[in-house]
Point group: C2
Chain length 340, copies 2
Amino acid sequence: MSRQRRGAGRVTLATVAALAEVSAMTVSRYFNEPARVSEVHRERIAAAIAATGYVPNQVAGGLASSKNRIVGLVVPNISGPIFASTIQAFHDTLGAQGYQVLMASSYFSAQQEENAVRAFLGWAPAALVVTSHFHTPATERMLASASVPVLEVWDYQPQRQPIQVGFDHTEVGRMAVEHLHGRGYRRIAFVANSATGDHSALERRDGYVQALARHGLAPILYQPDAALPPFEAGKQALEALMAQATRPDAIFFANDNLAAGGLLAAQRAGVRIPGDCAVLGFGDYPFAQMLMPSLSTLRPPAREIGEQAAAYLLASFNAVPDRPAPPAALHCTLVQREST
Amino acid sequence: MSRQRRGAGRVTLATVAALAEVSAMTVSRYFNEPARVSEVHRERIAAAIAATGYVPNQVAGGLASSKNRIVGLVVPNISGPIFASTIQAFHDTLGAQGYQVLMASSYFSAQQEENAVRAFLGWAPAALVVTSHFHTPATERMLASASVPVLEVWDYQPQRQPIQVGFDHTEVGRMAVEHLHGRGYRRIAFVANSATGDHSALERRDGYVQALARHGLAPILYQPDAALPPFEAGKQALEALMAQATRPDAIFFANDNLAAGGLLAAQRAGVRIPGDCAVLGFGDYPFAQMLMPSLSTLRPPAREIGEQAAAYLLASFNAVPDRPAPPAALHCTLVQREST
DNA sequence: TTGTAAGCGTTATCAC
DNA sequence: GTGATAACGCTTACAA
């Protein structure tokens, strides 16, 4: 043979069909609508599959049906404890139905998010999921003109158009203040995330400011240096706040990593927690319970977000063209431990 | 029109080609070998792409070229701190070259790993990466007959066939013993992982047993209940070991989650760390430095594994049919903190 | 229940 | 440098 055929030697539907002495279409039906294949043929096909080790080519199938069992997911960080539960639940729920999840980290950069969305679009995914509602104009355009379901997770903005599965971050800020105020704290500080671009953390701050105002209290805001890793930023924040003339008696950190840094710095500085100063985190990362004192924090419905997002997508895949009702807003819960 | 065309309205290569008044092939070349397209055409094509928002369909391209820019990765847990750095480095390195990473968690189950590998094979990936060297026979068969590079990461077995990027876990066990022995500890216990199926942890145990024997010491092994989450298992282990007639003076935990549980249980039981008993972990999870006392641990070259694995694959994609030289074994480093 | 033909959107190949 | 044509492996649409 002078001219090499492209996919020489590969096991395809045709290979199996020939072995089972049926047409390729019958083998295709065997996988997609087995009930419509006769018993005899099913057995012959099963034998042929076992003999050849055939695995259906999803790429070819996806192209032919223009239905790719792929979903794209962009989060600020695919490793790291913040989105771990969401990712796991989302991934496992969709994976159980034969969907693959394409993931990308935006690292809190709208530009990187845009790149990821564009890359995902090339795979003609069955759905696209992004985190929060801060996008570049180009991303907005791509999401708006995508012909597939688009979800925003880990956020909830009542008036906003795309389907959302998440919670209102300003509510979280208010919950933090109510908890601390209820326990008698009055000079309550907020420590922002060192990662600029974390807009959700700023919404938690806004909620904190609102709730303080309702109680007639003034906000005490601290912004760590942008370059610092969160744990170091938390240390810096606690030291700076404790060096002020009027010390806060409680600190609400934008996340648990920052709060853990604060806890350690407090211990070194001889600041007793919660006696001299209460510490409240956000995220309920797995280590929150391991710290000493254990960290009070606001627990986001991380697993629920992943599950509901996946369930919503699966429902909309099976219910085209009608779309299922969008999920209701979720809520954080306060986990009180020793630090407040 | 009575008969609806399948992909009506979608922007394809043909759409762009028509607009730019060139053939589809020229547009294809514009993306893949821009140098071979004339300046004039490049400009017209760029304009057409901008006007239509065209994004190349990777699925169609992959089918046509039988070169999918997809890599499958199976780890015990895609969320969780253990593989976080490896995943991130692997993902980012490959992502920068336009590859997508399909991920799956085996949850330490060889059967789930098999399912994941089979599912990935359907996407005709450019490479397959699995964790450690414990697979079902079916998985072994699929990996052996795969026509693409297969990598085993997070492990290193000198004699083994597939390319490996990782470290020898028995060496880690020996390092743990040498460290503790060097600091004067003699009754050194090992706490296994509560997750059965974590074969790597058992290899660390084997190394621990070997090294103890060389020093003429007897192993003290503790196996937590299989059902327990690691943090709880660590607590259980410490309590059980401290209730024994002759208490160990050092404990090497199979991972940092277990060790963190041990630290907390020690504090509650009034066991001073490291005065009464030293505690050594494995993994150097991010929280190890946040604990009190901070946790001494063995740091695996997690990021290096991800980077080297990705780099090796990229090299082999570009060097077909010759394959680059397999990477050398990597090593853990001991991170001494307060707990030893 | 089964099969035939056409097409999914791209790239390999070869001719110009 | 450019284009026509035939794959890639599967599914839709329709016919038998």
